[in-house]
């Protein structure tokens, strides 16, 4: 019998969806029935942990026996018994279920700071966080540092806002600290709204206390007694864990009155967002907390001058705040040792799209796109050609292959027409149409415009309409120029960041993939064969076996043919749904 057994089951949103809760209790039961007490024994535990990034392989389970860690992937309830019997009791890990090289390659080039405890500790247990040194930084700050000293550490570390704009965090705190006011507020912006982004969510689900600790240190630095976490209601698990964490933190005296026996009061409230993308914009977020419609207002005045209820307010993103305890603990120099000249530390990205390894990654700034996509991401799926990577979500831009060796930081991304944003990274391959991609992001920003200012409300609608006509084969001579003109107008005259960045996907795709636009307009052709109105389906005589699968599947009855004879598609009836293409086992359907 082994001396020490630890089992860690992923119960992030991905893990939960893959049956994490069930597997967790099955492990407990299996261990109990095997006579191993998983609840009380010091040396034996079955813990739920947060996401460790590689969600594509969920459910991931770590089995650590006497310090030796084996990770299993795609764990299903029916696999639990065998793992317990063979690995834990008999000491023979189940090799065929273990993760392989790709899992380790995925982690090799990552540097985990913010995510360091995600996947390691139970996010619903404050003691687990304290055990790994949690709240030590808060103790250090409150018992031995002045607010000015704290701010100076953050300033020296070079930490910049991880919400996208990259404003120096220490400087923001310092400005607010100097404001004289009877009340100040600090807000954690957890309104992560980019489609496909789940960085903040994973941090809040995997290690909520790190964010609370950062928020409290921030409050101490600026002199706030009230803090808010503004979080989307669509993140029920994160909200739930945050609630528990706040309660536990209050019980332990890390928030509340006279924190750690010092004359410092601070409490945190949760405010649920209703799912408006624009509420991630700080002035809209403030309006939303105040109970108004989430609509941005012009700045100046900035929130540090006049924020929530007109009081000086600091708003920091989740990831920014989660960095703070580590900077306090390890020092500004340590943090500044990662990254580039102007962009220090690490950054979490949600790597998605046409890469082999989808998931959440944390890398030192200055890493190249190539390293991220090919080393960590494992390259393009299905041996296709890399075409571009879209960073910064719907407000970002598409970066083509020629910039694969670009070192990623705030400035470099801006230089090539994209942005860091909150950390979305969507990889596109040769089967992605760039015009269609721009249209996709614009559909999102247009639908999420708050409607306040003309350029964003009507301007993006017209941009979208032009893109729609191009992708439907009705593009006109001059449309590209019109897109450019309108985009420039929207960027320069919109009220808030949403409008100012909304044309980025259009501008960057025109810049790097103008020929695709021209092909759509002049040749009425979609080079990537994506735009439905520009493609035709036909059946290749030499490959068709006459099996009839396509005919049966066609919802428009557009396919004719008798069994075992070559079938044909009536293009006048074809609705271009692509079903035949998907069902044909002989690759006899051609898209062109």
């Amino acid at each position: 019998m082994s001396k020490e057994i630890k089992i860690k089951v992923c119960t992030g949103t991905g893990g939960m969806a893959a049956g994490g809760e069930n597997v967790l209790s099955l492990f407990r039961n299996a261990l109990l029935s095997a006579g191993i007490d998983a609840t009380f024994s010091e040396k034996c535990s079955v813990d739920k942990v947060g996401c460790r990034g590689f969600c594509g392989m969920d459910l991931l389970v770590d089995v650590i026996v006497d310090g030796k860690k084996i990770t299993y992937k795609y764990v299903k309830p029916e696999m639990v018994d065998r793992i317990v019997q063979e690995h834990i009791i008999r000491g023979n890990p189940v090799v065929e279920w273990m993760v392989e090289d790709d899992f380790y390659n995925f982690h090799k080039k990552q540097t985990k700071v913010v995510l360091s405890q995600c996947g390691e500790i139970d996010p619903e247990d404050i003691n687990a966080y304290i055990e790994v040194g949690g709240y030590d930084s808060l103790k250090k700050v409150i018992t031995s540092m002045t607010p000015e000293e704290t701010i100076s550490v953050i300033k020296n570390s070079g930490l910049r806002g991880r919400g996208g704009a990259g404003f120096p965090t220490g400087l923001k705190w310092e400005i607010c600290h100097r404001k004289k006011s009877d009340k100040k507020y600090i807000i954690c912006n957890a309104d992560e709204g980019d489609p496909g982004a789940f960085m903040d969510r994973s941090v809040l689900e995997g290690n909520p206390h790190s964010v609370l600790e950062g928020l409290t240190i921030g409050a101490y630095s600026i002199g706030a007694e009230e803090g808010y976490v503004y979080i989307r209601a669509e993140y029920p698990l994160a909200v739930n864990r945050l609630r528990k964490a706040i309660e536990q933190s209050r019980q332990k005296g890390f928030i509340g009155n006279d924190i750690l026996g010092k004359r410092f009061n601070f409490d945190i409230k949760i405010k649920l967002g209703a799912g408006a993308f624009v509420c991630g914009e700080e002035t809209a977020l403030i309006a939303s907390i105040e109970g108004k419609r989430g609509m941005p207002r012009a700045r100046p005045p900035f929130p540090v001058d006049s924020g929530l209820w007109g009081k000086p307010t600091v708003i920091n993103n989740v990831e920014t705040l989660a960095n703070v305890p580590y900077i306090i603990k390890n020092g500004a120099e340590w943090f500044a040792s990662f990254g580039t000249e102007k962009s220090k530390g690490t950054k979490v990205f949600a790597l998605t799209g046409k890469v082999k390894n989808n998931g959440l990654i944390e890398v030192p700034l200055g890493i190249t796109l190539r390293e991220i996509i090919f080393d960590i991401g494992g390259g393009i799926e299905g041996e296709k050609m890399f075409k571009a990577v879209q960073t910064g979500g719907p407000s970002g831009g598409c970066i083509p292959a020629e910039f694969l060796d670009l070192e990623v930081d705030y400035e470099s991304l801006a230089q090539v027409g994209s942005i860091m944003g909150s950390g979305g990274m969507v990889v596109l391959d040769e089967t992605n149409c760039m015009v269609n991609t721009a249209k996709f992001f614009l559909e999102f920003t247009q639908a999420e415009s708050c409607g306040k200012c003309t350029p964003c409300r009507v301007g993006t609608k017209r941009l979208l309409e032009i893109l729609e006509r191009i992708t439907s084969g009705n593009g006109k001579e001059g449309d590209i120029e019109l897109l450019e003109e309108l985009s420039y107008y929207i960027k320069t005259s919109s009220l808030c960041g949403l409008g100012m960045t909304a044309p980025n996907p259009v501008l960057s795709t025109i810049k790097y993939f103008r020929d695709e636009y021209e092909a759509h307009i002049k040749d009425r052709r979609c080079p990537a064969v994506v735009c439905r109105d520009l493609i035709t389906y036909s059946i290749l005589e030499e490959l068709c076996t006459g099996c009839g699968a396509c005919k049966r599947a066609c919802p428009a009855d557009a396919i004719r043919g008798i069994r075992k004879k070559t079938h044909t598609i009536d293009t006048s009836l074809c609705i271009k749904c692509g079903t035949c293409f998907d069902v044909c086992k002989f690759k006899a359907i051609m898209k062109s």
Binding site: A276, V278, R293, M295, R297, A298, P300, P301, Q446, A447, E448, S449, C450, G451, K452, C453, T454, P455, R457, V458, G459, T460, K461, R462, E465, L482, L486, Y489, T492, S493, S494, L495, M500
Partner: protein, 366 residues
């Protein structure tokens, strides 16, 4: 006080002013649609964008506070092009029906389109269509004409303190409406109508009553004691609309009665001829609890029309007779808080000097 330079001219304004305040002080014209001096700056229409030295992108003058030494440029080919684009975009989502619009000639959007000479539109596309009409009896809410300047929302919240409407939906579908997009149910003060720059908000009773060659008469509201200044718009001999000017003691704000309740002037129920009773009172059996039919039909049987001479002579004879028989104190006069000072003066003078009694009063007590 803060001194700044606008288009090369120096101007000194109060500390909390906006750049737009300073521009207006210099009498420099700059287009705006969402700005109103009594409301919180909005910055939505983007027409008042200016270049400010040291700020990379154009900034809205209405939202930007002044600062010492600021250098502002209000016009340049780029700024004008952007303003023009803004207008084109607004017009691209606006019904092209000025010819039948109540506000044509009194519409800020139309006027700006005129000044910028916008004949063609680069950005024609989908237009919002709202089939359902708001069923409230006072305010026509044609949301297809709404340019989302938000003035109505702000005036309702910040001036009237009611908050009956707000922005709803998102993106191109953004719309200003009452909660759950129901019919408007509010105080119907019409402040929103007064500040609306387009034909989106109009009085329902204004419809097709006239737009051109209106006579404007400044006068005083006939309802409560506030004494609001109103302007009557007259077509031929009919009051077709009531407005109020911002420079009045009531700052242009009115209530539902002051703004919308003038139809009584042209009412067919108005008395037009002196009437003399023909049916003795005892048999008229009047009771206040009788409701419809209205009094007019009833009174036709009770009275006959008379000439002024006949009526006045009849009154004079009767009053003389009663005064002679019972003395002046057997007669009394009730004057009206609805009549003018002059009428009240003359009425009491009549009772006192002509009848010879102090039996004169009015409804101050009710």
């Amino acid at each position: 006080m803060v001194t700044l330079t606008i288009d090369g001219k120096k101007v000194t304004v109060r500390k909390l002013s906006t750049v737009l305040d300073a521009i207006k002080k210099l009498n420099i014209s700059i287009p705006t649609l969402c700005h109103h001096p009594d409301l919180t700056p909005f910055g939505g229409c983007r027409l008042c964008i200016v270049d400010i030295k040291g700020i990379a992108r154009p900034t809205t003058a209405c939202t930007t506070p002044v600062s010492e030494g600021m250098e502002v440029i209000t016009t340049s080919p780029t700024l004008e092009k952007m303003r023009r684009t803004t207008l084109e975009l607004l017009l691209s989502d606006h019904p092209d029906d000025c010819r039948v619009c109540e506000r044509a000639g009194d519409c800020k959007l139309q006027e700006l389109a005129y000044f910028y000479g916008i004949r063609e539109n680069h950005f024609l596309g989908e237009r919002r269509i709202y089939k359902k009409r708001d069923g409230n009896p006072f305010i026509e809410r044609d949301m297809e004409k709404c340019i989302l300047c938000g003035k109505c929302v702000r005036v309702c919240d910040e001036i009237e303190g009611v908050g009956a409407i707000d922005f709803a939906y998102r993106g191109f579908r953004t719309k200003i409406c009452p909660p759950y997009d129901k019919d408007l149910d509010c105080e119907f003060c019409g402040q929103c109508v007064a500040v609306c720059p387009t034909g989106a908000l109009t009085g329902k009773m204004w419809k097709q009553k006239g737009r051109q060659n209106l006579k404007e008469i400044d006068t005083i509201c006939p309802y409560c004691g506030c004494g609001c200044n109103i302007t009557l718009l007259i077509k031929r001999n009919d009051v077709i609309r009531v407005t109020s000017k911002p420079e009045t003691i009531n700052e242009g704000w009115l209530c539902v009665k002051g703004r919308f309740c003038y139809e009584f002037i042209n009412s067919p129920e108005r008395l037009t001829k002196p009437l003399i009773r023909v049916v003795p009172k005892e048999s008229s059996a009047f009771s206040v609890q009788q409701t419809n039919p209205p009094f007019l039909s009833l009174s036709k049987e009770l009275f006959r029309e008379a000439s002024w001479d006949e009526a006045l002579n009849y009154i004079a004879d009767r009053l003389k007779e009663i005064k002679e028989k019972y003395g002046p104190d057997s007669i009394a006069g009730l004057s009206s808080a609805k009549c003018t000072n002059e009428e009240n003066y003359l009425f009491q003078k009549f009772i006192r000097a002509v009848i010879g009694t102090n039996n004169v009063d009015h409804c101050a007590r009710y």
